[in-house]
């Protein structure tokens, strides 16, 4: 099979036939390296291939698929001619658009969850900074509180709070899928995992509100 398409001295073959035989040569499991390269070169001729026949509806195809990426190679690609992949010389590989995450609402929520983790990090840093200023003394702490009370900072922190709530809710909602289905021989129900997490969040928040609002 590997010899097909490379016979010498025979009558010239019709272009399409030559192409299909060249494809076979590429697919030949026992094809030697040099032969393979030559075969792929034959296939990788001028755009449109040797056949030169095109169907009517392919006229506007380039405009319809501007993202087409034919650079390859995939698994088993041919290094000499990366536009074609060994055994599969004419694979179509769509290029991934940079706005792939706008394809579905679920992807948008995922990206938002990932991005709002920046707000989580920021909130953590802010608390560390507050603690550091408490240690520096009442004056430093008061100055920081004054800074935080500025309208611009308050507006930013209102946005950070929304981002934190969004991140927390979307994160907590994923927890039933991440925990083992069985702990100590007992089967864990998804709703109990959710209820436990939200209850813990509620209790911690209530303690914080009590400390801030009642004790101070």
């Amino acid at each position: 099979m590997s010899g097909h398409g490379r016979e010498r001295g025979g009558p010239p073959e019709p272009p399409n036939q030559e192409r299909s035989r060249a494809d076979e040569a590429v697919g030949g499991a026992g094809a030697p390296g040099g032969g393979r390269d030559r075969a792929t070169d034959e296939v990788g001729g001028p755009a449109g291939g040797a056949g030169g026949t095109r169907v009517a509806d392919s006229g506007g195809a380039a405009a319809a698929f501007p993202d087409t990426d034919r650079r390859g190679p995939g698994p088993g690609g041919t290094p000499g001619n990366p536009a074609y992949t060994r055994y599969h010389p004419k694979w179509h590989r769509p290029r991934i658009p940079i706005f792939w995450w706008l394809r579905s609402p679920a992807y948008v929520i995922f990206i938002a969850r990932e991005l709002t983790s920046v707000a989580v990090g920021y909130a953590g840093l802010l608390i560390l900074l507050l603690t550091w200023n408490v240690a520096r003394g009442p004056e430093a702490y008061g100055a920081m509180l004054g800074f935080l009370a500025r309208p611009g900072i308050l507006a930013v922190h209102a946005f950070v709070l929304l981002a934190l709530v969004f991140h927390s809710v979307t994160w907590l909602n994923l927890t039933p899928q991440a925990l083992p289905r069985r702990i100590g021989g007992r089967r864990i129900r998804p709703w109990s995992v959710l209820a436990g997490h939200y209850l813990a969040w509620l209790v911690v928040s209530a303690i914080l509100v009590w400390i801030v609002a009642v004790k101070s």
């Binding site: 399409n16 192409r19 299909s20 755009a47 449109g48 291939g49 056949g51 026949t53 095109r54 169907v55 509806d57 392919s58 506007g60 195809a61 380039a62 319809a64 698929f65 087409t68 034919r70 995939g74 698994p75 992949t85 599969h88 010389p89 004419k90 694979w91 179509h92 590989r93 769509p94 991934i96 792939w100 995450w101 394809r103 579905s104 679920a106 992807y107 995922f110 990932e114 994923l174 039933p176 899928q177 991440a178 925990l179 083992p180 289905r181 069985r182």
Partner: protein, 246 residues
Amino acid sequence: MPETVTLTVFRYRPEQEETPAWQDYEVPFRSKWMVLDALNHIKDRIDGTLSYRWACRMGVCGSCGMMVNGEPVLTCATYLEDLLPGPIRVEPLRGFPVVRDLVSDISDFVAKLERIKPWIIRRDVRDVQDGEYRQTPAELDDYRQYSMCINCLLCYAACPIYELEPEFIGPAAIALAQRYNFDSRDQGAAERMEVLAVHEGVWCCTFVGECSAVCPKHVDPAGAIQRYKVAATADWFRSLLPGRRR
């Protein structure tokens, strides 16, 4: 109900054209027809050159997965009725190279599936006369969900990570690894960990969760992957204990 419905189908004929094209087909609308029935109508009555895969027509073989209106679905389980008024856009599964029309090449998945050793591995193989390896219903229940996978690869098409990082071993392969890891008869979890507890294993996954959302068999591959992350992390911490080696 309309008389007809239009299917806008992805066409790619590598021997004829350099880039793919869309082709519209108008098919008669029948209540209870699936998208696959419409494709079969096109193939039989309108255009015999259209290529696609299908076999069982009842959601078991996993061959007829395609993108319909941008969602990965089994076309044999998707009613035309639910997609009215159309046009209905049909494309090959996302994330895989297209061989022709709606046919994608899935050999990347098959190679990855082999790597996770999807069979029962025993260190102590019993003789046949000793009988079968017995299992309680509770033990069966531990992995049964993951054994429902039909390799339809909708989860791969739904996973943006697989598209962005093709070395990712992917949702179905990891769910099938867990199918054996959770099997009480299996003793090969450590062997599979070498393949899975690495970046291109479970750690590529950022938990988008769409693999579980589109799974027609409710396998929950996202859950399988996250549970594997927990197991791999616990294994790593255990390896830090004195006297233990990874």
